[in-house]
Symmetry: C2
């Protein structure tokens, strides 16, 4: 992992002295940074450094050992915040091409979104939407995300190309959708997808049963078994709506959605449940016991007036919980930074306590918390030696970020996603000075606009789908 500097080694050999420091050459050195490590001690280094070699972090320090490193590339952070890449634990990235359609329609999923998807979802749409959404996330400092949608192999190709990291779940649902006529076909599609992408260094393929109430007990059991067989995660919407509670209660003699999942053996450490709004204390105990991951999507949950998840309670109880944006028809943006303000403040409001959900907890839920939710906490979520090099640099020069007495506060209460200056995933710089390096942003935008024109023609101008 380390390429020793030949000259330093020669010197050390020449003088036979162990006190001569070997200069270590690394691929990328970030210096003069306000480093938020997000390690267990929440260490912050002023004027700190982060050294990256290959796709790993090889040093994080207060900068006093700066002279010990030489680097192929050096970024002088000039006091800016350097922190772990943000992890968006739940989204539907391809839906960017539908963003701002019919935002506040009642019963929107069933009355608007499912009909819209029946008409418009295609392999092309998934690719075009994923491209745009991936660019949005990289530009907003998201380095890893969890996704649930159709034609997920197209999302995988996009993630591979742009250089992000992702857990990608292929949808299983009981009614006909764009890439499967029924749940069995959906499961088969998912299995093929998993076989194709398993082992990719940055992509984790997964099953994504849509929700308990949109799947049969048999399908959910089958997915659980296959997730063991293929050793992959299961992403699901869980405990999201009152309607779901009613359907599941009828099906399971009064159980909650979480209780039902436990009963059928589907509550496993592979599971990542999105939303988790309607959970009681017994559910929380179960979720902790089973090591289930949780994606907390504040912005989408309050926009749809579904309520506020007891996310703070779950976090404080040591559950695996991270932030998610939900899809761009719900959130409506894909950068976790856009959630910060709402997560911090709405939990204060509902708990009637201005001390509730302080900024440091929000930042933990956006980094280590989300890493735990996706069961990737050994690899990502903090800046520590040996972890994968997913790192972002957040500008502190713009007026909204001036001054910074407390970096957690500044990030949560003041930062825009557009304050992210550089984004590094797996040791590779994907965005530098707000410019995408791995893909052509303009042509991705043009493709999205061309598709949006089709959407406009089909579902707005024609009036086929209620606006």
């Amino acid at each position: 992992m380390f390429k020793k500097n030949i000259f330093a080694l020669a010197l050390a050999t020449l003088f036979g002295s162990s006190s001569v420091c070997a200069v270590e050459n690394v691929d990328l050195l970030i210096k003069n940074a306000t480093v938020l490590t997000m390690n267990d001690e929440k260490t912050i280094f002023q004027h700190g450094l982060v050294a990256i070699d290959g796709n790993h972090i090889v040093a994080v320090s207060d900068g006093s050992n700066l002279s010990q490193y030489s680097a192929d590339k050096t970024i002088d952070a000039d006091g800016d915040i350097v922190m772990p890449g943000l992890i968006n634990s739940h989204t539907h990235v391809s839906m960017t091409v539908f963003r701002s359609l019919a935002d506040d329609v009642p019963d929107r999923l069933h009355r608007y979104i499912f009909p819209l998807e029946k008409k418009m979802v295609s392999r092309d749409m998934v690719r075009i939407g994923a491209q745009l959404g991936n660019v949005e996330m990289v530009k907003g400092g998201v380095t890893t995300y969890g996704d649930m949608y159709y034609f997920e192999d197209e999302v995988a190709k996009t993630v591979d190309k742009i250089g992000m990291r992702a857990v990608l779940g292929e949808t299983v649902i009981k009614f006909p959708v764009a890439d499967a006529a029924n749940a069995d076909e959906g499961i088969q599609y998912a299995v093929d997808f998993i076989k194709q992408w398993k082992g990719h260094p940055r992509i984790t393929p997964a099953f994504a049963p849509h929700a308990p109430y949109t799947n049969t007990t048999n399908a959910l059991k089958k997915v659980t078994q296959l997730s063991e067989k293929y050793d992959v995660p299961v992403l699901i919407h869980l405990a999201e709506s009152h309607r779901e509670n009613e359907v599941i209660a009828k099906r399971s003699h009064g159980k909650t959605p979480v209780g039902y999942m436990e009963e059928i053996g589907a509550l496993t450490p592979r599971l990542v449940g999105a939303h988790m709004i309607n959970v009681n204390d017994e559910d929380i105990t179960l979720l902790k016991k089973r090591g289930v991951g949780i994606a907390h999507n504040m912005s989408a949950n309050i926009k749809s007036a579904k309520g506020v998840s007891p996310a703070l309670k779950m976090f404080d109880n040591g559950l695996r919980i991270g932030l998610g944006t939900d899809g761009p028809m719900s959130g409506n943006t894909l950068s976790t930074i856009d959630e910060f303000n709402q997560v911090a403040k709405v939990h204060k409001l509902v708990n009637k306590d201005r001390g509730a959900m302080p900024p440091i907890k929000v930042i933990e839920m956006a980094t280590m918390g989300a890493a735990r939710a996706l069961h990737m906490e050994d690899k990502i979520g903090s800046l520590e030696v040996g972890k994968l090099a997913d790192v972002i640099i957040v500008d502190t020069k713009s007026p909204n970020m001036t001054p910074v007495y407390n970096p957690y506060s500044a990030l949560v209460y003041s930062a825009y996603a557009s304050n992210v200056k550089h984004t590094i995933v797996d040791g590779r710089i994907l965005m530098k000075d707000r410019k995408m390096l791995t893909v052509d942003e303009a042509s991705i935008r043009d493709e999205a606009l061309a598709f949006a024109a089709k959407v406009r023609k089909t579902v707005i101008d024609s009036g086929e789908v209620v606006r």
Copy 2:
């Protein structure tokens, strides 16, 4: 107001024909825009134009008459959103230099902010903080704001220089503060300030009694009388906290803060009340009857866990209500765009109705609503012929703003303050392509950072004020 094109006039004279269209020369022409007029009919023009001559709007149209205009300067909006400048109806702009200090301390105003201000507020601090805050607002598309602080003449000088529009209230409060030993001195300072700045084309000086509970009845009455005499607004914090309710109830035989203000004759059309969280239906009727302006500060109110103002009810009942950010120790940013998401979503949450507070109402509260709150609706708040030329252009090319099926939705659910591309106040371009034209942003930032270093030394490193 119109400078006729000589050549066109000559042609018309030559041919003696009234059917020859005179080409009208204007100072600034914005073309090819998605124009949100925010007029009563909420007219939207695709490929529209806005023509500005001097400091007034002289045309707003669907663009079909584009050839009728020649212009000294032309901005091709290339489909971007052109809309009225945003109006931040309540802030304390100079407090930018304290941003991110001790954010979630209990009883923060009394335990932290007042002691901090006693130690740090000076003429210099007010100037330095105002500079930074004005830049932040211009860059976030705010063209007019309402301010309450000390040494307000320093804020006025900054507003004058940068080219913004503002209603600036000099604080009156019963205990010793940086620029007055007591309320009488504060009133005298305010009167001097008002005499000095009254009549400025962009600045409206005002009284700013801090709140009913931090002033005596006598002081409040005196301010009310003087506001009539000098024909100026009165800005105040009103119905903000339970503590205030208790103090005022004791003072007034059980009245609410609004009821008390009515009783002492202080509820007038000159009054602009910030927050208005604890108001009952009787209060709302009174506020409407008296034509009181209201500043709704969602972000600050939920951050402090004070609760949610019945702002939607007041808006729907036709009250004069607009959005405000509150000061940067509360909000913590100064761009009204940062409020949009929270205003739209938290009202849905508390009303348990995803259809509540749709984007179009949020945008109205940020423009015409706030203009009404400041009693300036005849001059600003919409793009209509004869109004003052306060206009912003919002980029729709960045990933978070792609695509735009509904511009109100895109602005409320997706836009960042940093998506504002150009800001025009009084016909003058203050920001172009994100670059400030009237002041040097870098030196303003340097001054703010130098002051922040003093703050850090005085109140953090010394431990004098509890962090």
